[in-house]
Symmetry: C2
Subunit: 129 residues, 2 copies
Amino acid sequence: MRFAHVMIRVNNLDESIEFYSTVLGMKLQDVVVNDEYQYTIAFLGYGDDRHKETCLELTYNWGKSSYEIGTAFGHLAIAVVDVYKACEEVSAKGGSVTRPAGPLKGKPDSIIAFIKDPNGYQIELVTQK
Amino acid sequence: MRFAHVMIRVNNLDESIEFYSTVLGMKLQDVVVNDEYQYTIAFLGYGDDRHKETCLELTYNWGKSSYEIGTAFGHLAIAVVDVYKACEEVSAKGGSVTRPAGPLKGKPDSIIAFIKDPNGYQIELVTQK
């Protein structure tokens, strides 16, 4: 078994592809349009082959741009070399840093930050070990 | 940058660890207890090192067992060799198959199924390519 992907619904596919590629450095791996059921999905990730590494699936249901984030789903986490520098880069690229880089409460040796994607999903930046 | 993990909140940590390890074959990689902020997190995945491959982070906030799944988050997808056989195994281990194995609508060469975790999260089973 392999952890293939995580699917999240998005309000505007172009906007989300732009965010995950430009701000978070993912590659657009595949786009699948389903005319019959009126949705378009995009796969993005850090590898070249979405069948080898866990990737992100963005689903855009045509014409639908309002979803409830709920309280159950937490976040996607992206590991970076330097969380402070990554936050500066995210801000410079127009991303929204909602919790600035700094030590995790109760675990001061872990440096984290949170940013928000265009749909309101939380994304944690953590230090790559 | 690396896709580090996906965090979901769970109602009962032991129950969820049992599900993801026994039913979905993940390994329990790490457990972190935070007494000060009263939560316990567990990392599970298919690799041995959670700092190398994307893993799942389960967060249990002590005493909290009610969350809203919402409509935005879609699912986690697990790739398997044979979706039909995987569904039989999931059922035999007490898992809940909510959409039996079969062709994807509008894309009949893709065989998928959906199961539900103990918290209500949707998990898609897809064929490993």
